[in-house]
Amino acid sequence: MLFNSLSFIVFLMIVLAAYYSEILNWNNKKRMLLLASYIFYGMWNPPLVILLWISTMIDWTAGKRLAVEENQRKRKLWLYLSMAVNLGFLGFFKYGDFLLENFTLMMQSMGVDYQARPMDIILPMGISFYTFQTMSYTIDMYHKKTERARNFLDFALYVTFFPQLVAGPIVRAKDLITQFYEPKKATVNQFIWGVFLLTLGLFQKVVLADTLLSNTADTVFKPGQVLNFWDAWSGTLAFSGQIFFDFAGYSTCAIGIALMLGIVLPDNFKYPYASLGFSDLWDRWHISLSSWLRDYLYIPLGGNRHGVTRMYVALMLTMLLGGLWHGAAWTFMVWGGLHGTYLILEKLQKKYIPFKITVWNGMFLALVTYTCVNITWVFFRAREFDTAWNMIKSMLFLNPEGTKLLESFDIIKVFVLIGILFCSHWFMRNTSVKEVASKISPYLLSIVWAIMFFLIAISQGSGEQFIYFQF
């Protein structure tokens, strides 16, 4: 079920009515939320709820045993079981075809006439999110960093909680399960703020991403085109805006919906396009994934504990696998590899040519960072390397005779919108929407709110899927 759909509005109203009714006690309210979460997921493809159940059962059992088991060998086995099942699901459903395709290519390059039929496996929505979330529980249990969930209901709800089930934020057990222990109820202000965040998230998704930017990005990234400088940049900037508004919009909706239930979810985006360098970027973009990769991949790989070279290797491996997490294609690996390279170069710069960031050079640095991020988006969005290379060449003035594909209005629209996006990220760097909203007049806030609602209503999207659902 999509947040930007009528069925979700009806679904949410029913859930809220049941949640705030006096008939149900807290345990029954949690059971109702669990059932609602399965319905939320099953409305897309009911049989795939079974994967959620298996993942839940395995990690619940592993967590239970890890809580009491002292034998290190057995503890490791429980951890490996959880990882094998979760990563096995990911490997089969997400990377099955990709692995088969590359195996076939490898065999053919070795002169073996091997042909394999694609398995055409359906990708279960949000599998990358919920497997990472459940694994984090078991890994934390293994390292004794979190307490065992008090009961199965709380754990199952933690894995399946519908606001963040299919596209995050990926929440740690200690941050979410503990909230289920005591009855939760949003205050009036929390509830209204939750509605505001839901409106803001939908505005980002429906109006900014789908209505204003997606067409330009889709047009420009069609394969087989050699484009003009302005078209290539417009398409790339449009995609950078589209993916931010799409994903941050989803996270904002998720946080808002949870808040309406009195549950607090962590921020997932903090104005990333005004980042001062790439470490800063990864502290601001998809925070729940980058912190997951840091804690469960980069640090176990050695982090910065074993010398500079090992640290760079760990960093690059983390970013390459982070890229692969987004999709089963080499273009995603290149995206991750570029980010890894940026991070390494930034560390070298900080070591050998350090400089102090001031207000004056800060904005320039943010602009440089954003420009470099845009280069990576080309590989993220293009489905083939040819398309990506053509785009990069056009962006570097290397295709002066490239096709002028877009209308003037499209180009102006993208540059104005992305200009506003960049400036707003710059000015919001050290604050939050809530802080700004608390400082402005309630009348101004209501006007902004009404404008967003009006634009959502007249945008009339056909319920475009969120981009991150495919990851």
């Binding site: 079920m1 999509l2 759909s5 009528l6 069925s7 009806v10 099953g42 409305m43 897309w44 493809n45 009911p46 009036v188 202000n189 209204i192 703020w193 509605v195 505001f196 109006v207 209505t211 204003l212 067409n215 096709t403 002028k404 594909l405 877009l406 209308e407 003037s408 209005f409 499209d410 180009i411 629209k413 909203a437 608390s438 309630p442 009348y443 806030l445 209501s446 006007i447 709110w449 009404a450 609602f453 009006f454 634009l455 209503a457 007249i458 945008s459 009339q460 056909s462 319920g463």
Partner: protein, 345 residues
């Protein structure tokens, strides 16, 4: 933070602004209509799963869609037809869907609009891809999509601002369409397609009829004619051999399992007819096709009462003429034993 105050004022402002928006577009002559979208097609396609030997299915492009009026057909034949025609598409993938994905052994009536029927078998070409995307949508339909569609119907029926056809008409009023109107085409030197205005009204039963405006306002009808002329200029040449071979494969299979196939050539007139006669003429296309297939075939030119019908925008009949055409053709087919008249059973 006075959130409660902001919330209440925001609700009030939203209500006022959306009401004003609705009233404004109604004052401009718009009225609430159902959206012609994949979900509506899927609802109609689902009827095929339980269809009997008596059922009749229409496949084809916009001519079959506009020219056959379901109520008239039902009155004449005693059975409500299943309308699966989609504007601008080839009927070939739809026939494949009927043959390969159903056990239907009733009657399939296929509209042969030469420019589309003989257009292509390339899956990514628009006439094919558009039809196939409807078929794929139906086969992959989720419960969420189904419920979205049914929940949206009361809104579509009552609010002008909910109109957003998949055709992306030039006079659509959703935000994306309003922004599309700003494009002037001067930068890339491309000749922009002339504005394509919505000229039909569809109902929940998926019956399409030409709007009163298109039937009576010559200037408006001319704007549609300019679109046909534009399409004629940019369309690739037809692929008669490949399309015929493809069609015969499915037709043979369908006939072999006991289904009945009827081919119909709906009227066209004016410049469009002249163009069709010149580039896709009857002898080399229609006649050559009907000679290869064991099906009843009906060309409007062969019937005195039908050959004089005039299409206001050269390609589709007005609602009144479509009702006449449906009635006459149904009677002709009954007389011909091509279809049964369940009214007399």
């Amino acid at each position: 933070m006075h959130l409660k105050k902001s919330f209440l004022i925001a609700i009030l402002l939203s209500f006022i602004s959306l009401s004003a928006w609705e009233i404004y577009w109604r004052s401009q002559g718009y009225h609430p209509t159902i959206n012609d979208e994949k979900a509506l097609w899927a609802k109609e396609r689902a009827k095929l799963e339980d269809a009997t030997q008596n059922d009749v299915v229409f496949l084809g492009s916009s001519r079959v869609y506009f020219d056959f009026q379901k109520k008239v057909w039902e009155k004449e034949t005693g059975i409500k037809p299943i309308q699966l025609a989609v504007p601008g598409t080839s009927p070939l993938p739809a026939l494949t869907d009927v043959v390969e994905n159903t056990n239907f052994t009733g009657t399939v009536i296929i509209g042969v609009t030469p420019g589309l029927f003989f257009s292509t078998t390339y899956p990514k070409a628009p006439p094919w891809d558009r039809m196939q995307s409807n078929i794929d949508f139906y086969h992959n339909l989720t419960y969420a999509q189904k419920s979205n569609f049914f929940l949206s119907i009361p809104l579509q029926k009552n609010l002008v601002m909910m109109s957003a056809d998949e055709e992306e008409w030039s006079d659509d009023i959703d935000l994306k369409a309003l922004l599309r109107r700003q494009n002037t085409g001067e930068r890339n030197g491309k000749t922009l397609a002339p504005p394509f205005y919505n000229f039909g009204d569809i109902n929940y039963d998926r019956n399409m009829a030409m709007s009163e405006r298109a039937a009576t306002d010559t200037a408006f009808a001319n704007s549609i004619i300019r679109v046909w002329n534009y399409f004629a200029g940019v369309s690739p040449p037809p692929d008669k051999e490949a399309t015929t071979t493809y069609f015969l494969k499915d037709a043979t299979k369908f006939l072999a399992r006991g289904g009945k196939l009827i081919l119909v050539r709906c009227p066209s007139s004016g410049g469009t007819r002249i163009g069709e006669n010149k580039f896709l003429n009857r002898e080399t296309h229609w006649d050559s096709l009907v000679n290869l297939v064991n099906a009843k075939t009906y060309h409007f030119e062969d019937y005195d009462q039908l050959k004089t019908l005039t299409c206001p925008e050269e390609s589709h009949l007005s609602k009144k003429d479509a009702e006449f055409f449906t009635k006459e053709l149904a009677q002709i087919m009954i007389k011909d034993n091509a279809i049964s008249n369940l009214n007399t059973h």
